[in-house]
């Protein structure tokens, strides 16, 4: 049983999806999805524990030894990402029932849970697999599922948002596929560990360079790295609240994980950041994303859209950390990956609560809301503080590491940009706080909190934000271990 954990982590959600479809009733399908998502969470926690105590696990699918067979490989880097994805999945499923009842018709609910489980299986698969082509396949499983989930949004603009995402997502995945093909052409292998042994020997080769560039562009599209982020704001703004909360914390993070995996493990830091100068290529868009994303966020009237632009900016922080290619920088990037999942899920969940009561997440709907929905708005403020990076919150810890990395690399102007972007975050969070706390409520506005089943997961995440801001041993420890593994002898 324990030996087969890596495979079960994918197989359980994948096989539960058709079960949900066969059940055909919203309530029971939710029960299945809830149980399965918590089971995957427990499994990923066990895996992380095993990896931290006993080193990397290699699982041979069907008993075929790599490099011929497909290998699932769990090491300190992806064990950590697996836990993030599974934890967010479990929390969003706990939150989903009331919100989905409100936003989706009865007949479509069981289909939603089916698709959700497929998406979860896809995202976990991308993370766990040690095979480059397998990454593409799982990417497409998760992406196709997320296009469907986004198109379920209550507004008709959800349809066009999903279509745009489909076009961009497919182009991104196909670029990645071209890169994998070129690598295969040169090395004759698809196994990541095997590629890592062979690619550095032929780095002067033009085909390897082409593969490098194709993969960089494809993954940048998938991860919504500025300026390839244009699919993201609408997709997040018009998707159902549950879907936004889930995807914001997982889809782009997994793409960033693949970026890290490709450039640190396959191509190796010396080649990627030395002769291909990936550092500059990543850092310039990252800083642009931080400044421009935050600035655009200030001018949004739809708060979900505002948070979506803020996500573009936060992805900039993560990519910036990776761009340093030092242990401190990568630690900062990995930490922010984790912390941003906590922050954005909490904030999007709070917006889901607002939508549940008000039927809108525009700034006008927030007037005086702090009196009518005190717990929801307090959760939003808690998430907002962490987003800004106030001390004692998780957001502070990751920004602190990024600042240290910038100063350590002798690039103090980057530290200045990090601070400026955080100031911009104060502005856009404050806009909401001002309207919610200091404006009078309109007459006859709906009053009352969101259901307790929605508030508990939201508050759990908000408290986690404060917990990981004060006790940094777990998160910083795991992130440092991952960074050292990527840059050090772990290759």
């Amino acid at each position: 049983m324990m030996a087969h954990l890596p495979a079960l982590l994918i197989v359980v959600p994948l096989l539960s999806a058709p079960i949900c479809l066969l059940i055909g009733r919203g309530r029971f399908a939710h029960g299945v999805a809830l149980v399965v998502s918590w089971v995957t969470f427990v499994m990923s926690a066990l895996l992380l524990n095993e990896v931290r105590n006993g080193g990397a696990i290699s699982y041979h699918l069907g008993g075929w030894a790599p490099p011929w067979g497909i290998e699932y490989r769990v090491d300190p880097v992806n064990a950590y990402v697996l836990l993030i994805v599974a934890a967010v999945g479990a929390l969003t499923m706990s939150y989903a029932k009331a919100s989905i009842d409100r936003e989706l018709g009865q007949g479509r609910q069981f289909r939603f849970y089916t698709i959700f489980l497929l998406c979860l299986a896809g995202l976990l698969g991308v993370t766990i697999t040690g095979d480059a082509f397998n990454i593409f396949v799982f990417f497409e499983i998760s992406s196709l599922a997320s296009y469907v989930m986004i198109s379920l949004g209550p507004d008709r603009r959800a349809l066009t948002a999903a279509f745009n995402y489909l076009i961009f997502g497919t182009i991104g995945a196909t670029f990645f596929l071209i890169g994998v093909g070129l690598l295969y052409q040169m090395t004759g292998t698809l196994n990541i560990a095997d590629l890592a042994n062979r690619v550095p020997a032929m780095t002067g080769n033009r085909t390897i360079q082409a593969a490098f560039i194709f993969m960089a562009v494809g993954l940048a599209l998938k991860a919504a790295i500025f300026p390839l982020h244009s699919w993201l704001p609408n997709a997040y703004a018009f998707a159902p609240s549950v879907v936004t909360a889930f995807l914001a914390a997982t889809a782009t993070k997994v793409a960033i994980y693949v970026l890290i995996r490709s450039y640190f493990t396959i191509f190796g830091p010396e080649y990627s950041f030395g002769s291909m100068s990936l550092g500059v290529v990543l850092m310039v868009p990252a800083i642009a994303a931080m400044l421009i994303g935050s600035t655009i966020a200030i001018f949004q009237d739809d708060i979900k859209r505002m948070l979506a632009y803020s996500s573009v900016a936060q992805i900039g922080y993560m990519v910036l950390g990776i761009g340093f290619a030092t242990v401190l920088g990568v630690t900062g990037g990995m930490l922010h990956l984790f912390n941003h999942a906590l922050i954005k899920t909490a904030m999007f969940m709070a917006m889901g609560c607002v939508f549940y009561r008000m039927g809108s997440v525009r700034i006008e709907a927030m007037a005086g809301l702090a009196k009518r929905m005190p717990w929801t708005m307090a959760a939003f403020v808690g998430g907002g503080l962490s987003l800004i990076g106030v001390p004692l919150t998780a957001g502070f810890v990751s920004k602190w590491y990024l600042l240290l990395a910038a100063l350590d690399a002798g690039m103090w102007w980057i530290a200045a940009f990090i601070l400026i972007a955080s100031m911009l975050a104060i502005v856009y969070v404050w806009r909401v706080v001002e309207v919610a706390y200091f404006s009078p409520s309109p007459d006859g506005a709906p009053t009352g909190e969101a259901p307790i089943s929605m508030l508990i997961p939201t508050w759990f995440l908000v408290l986690a934000n404060f917990y990981f801001g004060i006790d940094t041993r777990i998160s910083v420890g795991a992130a440092t271990q991952a960074a050292e593994y990527l840059l050090g002898a772990g290759r």
Binding site: E140, L144, L159, T160, L166, I167, T170, G181
Partner: protein, 118 residues
Amino acid sequence: MEWPGLYNYWIAIFLMMAGLYIVMAHANLVKKMVGLVIFQSSVFILYITMGKVTGGTAPILIPGDVVYSNPLPHVLILTAIVVGVATLALGLALIVRIMEAYGSIEEDDIEVLENSAP
């Protein structure tokens, strides 16, 4: 190597660029999907080409010393074709829904409708 040498790759790259151009240049959603499919198909050709060994036969067990093509890229592409078909089906389904919701599948018209409606 004689001109045009490796002409399969020329065709693959031409289709790739043509497909990508259609996706970007056309405002009609169905035409966009067509461009996307051409783009994906070009990658299939790229993979199939790299598996071909000159003078090789199909990889079947035949007695004697036989040269055969590398079957792995071909098998990979079977998977990618399935993914491509699923993407195409989903894209077309979304276009049907967009047609029902907006009464148009021209990007310009949809943009006007989106900006005018609340």
